[in-house]
Amino acid sequence: MALSVEVIKAGLETSVQDFPGRYGFWEQGFPPSGPFDMWSFRLANVLVGNGPEAAGLECQFMGPTLRFSEDCVVAFTGAEMNPTLDGEAFPMWESVAVTAGQVLACGFARVGARAYLAISGGIDVPTVLGARATFHMAGVGGMEGHALKDGQSLNVGAGAGAGAGVPGRRVKQDCRPAISDNKEWQIEVVQGPNDDWIADDGIERFLTSEWKLQARSNRTGYRLEGPDWIFADKASAKGPEHGEHPSNILDHGYPVGSINLCGQTPIILVNDAPSAGGFINPFTVPSAAFWKLAQSKPNDIYRFRRVSVDEAQELRRSIDRLCAVESIA
């Protein structure tokens, strides 16, 4: 009997994701999707002995309740959602043996916002455009294109690598992202690509102000509330094809992580964001800071710290190094 996972309660918006997501179709408007906090996701796969490409679950704000049909090894990482296994506390950041028929239940995210569940073998949904990641806005990938629904059954693959199914492995404390219930975050940003549309005092204001994460934020974009922007002369002295508002520019592509300025509202474009549009992107959040976005909640406060392209790439490497078996005790 093949292992399957029954979705008793789907949670708020639990989706199948894989690392690094969907590539090669961006120019047709398909974003990468994939796990928002890739650091936590990748470590969950390492814990259960999966290869990095194995699909798992991203649980947002309120996790699912699942029943396992066969014995298996699972790991939970990321946000603390008070998971229980048949009513007993289920340890986070650790590979755990689950026996057939046991029920894993989650509650609301107490610390952080997104938790990741890996199962040895990986979740087996069809690949769409080369990936299992869910892009639910267009109904692509994952479980029938969308978030999990109550009563569905997830198949689990047999593709586990070395060390598969070993319970009791733990991620060392200093190798995990520092997810806390502190409501203030320092987020790295790289200046550009369209920073020359903002006046010098506008750049200064962005970097020294507090920005509040609005409730209308999701895997498409993170809306921020803060002071008004100050535009450079260039933003007004431009051809009519750029649009009327100072934040308008001739349609162009949007880097993932770019801070897209719509009028006066900055929106950080994340994993499921539109690929193009007609607004400027004065700053970009580098990939190494995405886990912080993924683990923050509405009304949290962001302060941005400017880093160079080189520093952003070095930060990325330091996280990559931690997403490996060396981080397991």
């Binding site: 047709q28 769409v128 892009f135 369209n194 001739l250 990939s287």
Partner: protein, 289 residues
């Protein structure tokens, strides 16, 4: 203008926005897509994806495999080796899309908007009035009387911005204000000087002038055209609309429903910018179809 030297603007740790110019200009957009084709051919190690748009290309890369400055140097090398714009040719397949103009589906969508959001002149009447046309027949004749250039895709997966290559067929249209809450999949839209085919049921703001039963996006990959892709078009392709009547529309719709509709596409078609420019010179702009 087209810049003498393109700008390479950083987008975080893994993107570069390469800006080749700053205006809406067919030659510039052609340059963008020609360069994109060259960069793809070169298979630069560490380059992941290209996102070409009106006047720029966003390049994604793996910084562990190539640095910002090396990638910039390689791309710039290809840019400088492209030769003159006039000498450029691009393989540009032409997709044929059947359209029932002034059709019942989009008329129903407009009526729904009038009932629920507010009174508004019928979309085809807006196009006829603002472009001094003599009626719906001429609207269909002009809209279907040119090839369209896929300048970019974006906003929504599979949604292409199409620009008329024959300047005598360029129409203008205002956008819905406020926008519609829904638009039927397959609607032919017109906004500003851009036309489009709605890839899915989505909100929208373009005037609706017709409807095609042929999908340009298929998340279930049922039709043969979608065996490798979910979306039909890529930047630098061309589209040709052709008018059909209700009976042919119904026939095509049945074939699409049955899952055996075959898209018409001329994969051999090349686009030469020199031949295009020479043809433009010969046009009498006062002629009307």
């Amino acid at each position: 203008m087209i810049y003498d030297e393109p700008k390479f603007l950083p987008g975080g740790d893994r993107f570069i926005e390469m800006e080749l110019g700053n205006e809406l200009n067919f030659d510039l957009n052609f340059l963008v897509h020609s360069l994109s084709a060259k960069i793809r051919e070169a298979e630069i190690t560490g380059l992941i994806e290209l996102l070409p748009n009106m006047a720029s290309i966003v390049i994604s890369y793996d910084p562990d495999l190539i640095s910002f400055s090396d990638l910039k140097r390689e791309v710039l090398g290809h840019y400088h080796n492209m030769g003159s714009l006039e000498g450029m040719e691009l393989l540009s397949p032409i997709y044929y899309i059947p359209v029932l103009y002034c059709d019942p589906v989009t008329r129903g969508c407009w009526e729904d908007y009038c009932a629920k959001i507010g009174e508004k002149e019928y979309d085809c009447d807006v196009l006829v009035r603002l472009n001094n046309l003599d009626g719906y027949e001429q609207l269909a004749r002009i809209h279907s009387g040119t090839e369209y250039w896929v300048a970019a895709l974006g906003f929504y997966p599979g949604l292409a911005s199409l620009i008329a290559l024959d300047p005598r067929c360029r129409l203008t249209a205002p956008k819905y204000n406020p926008p519609r809450t829904w638009t039927a999949k397959g609607t032919i839209g017109y906004g500003g000087s851009v036309t489009c085919v709605y890839p899915a049921n989505t909100p929208g703001g373009y005037q609706m002038i017709g409807h095609t039963p042929v999908p340009v996006c298929d998340m279930d990959q049922r039709l043969p055209a979608f065996s490798q892709d979910l979306a039909l078009l890529r930047p630098g392709d061309r589209v040709r609309f052709f008018p059909i009547g209700q009976e042919e529309y119904d026939y095509v719709e049945r074939r699409v429903t049955a899952g055996d509709y075959v898209h018409n596409v001329a994969h051999y078609a090349k686009f030469s910018i020199r031949a295009y420019h020479e043809w433009l010179e010969t046009l009498d702009m006062k002629e009307r179809f």
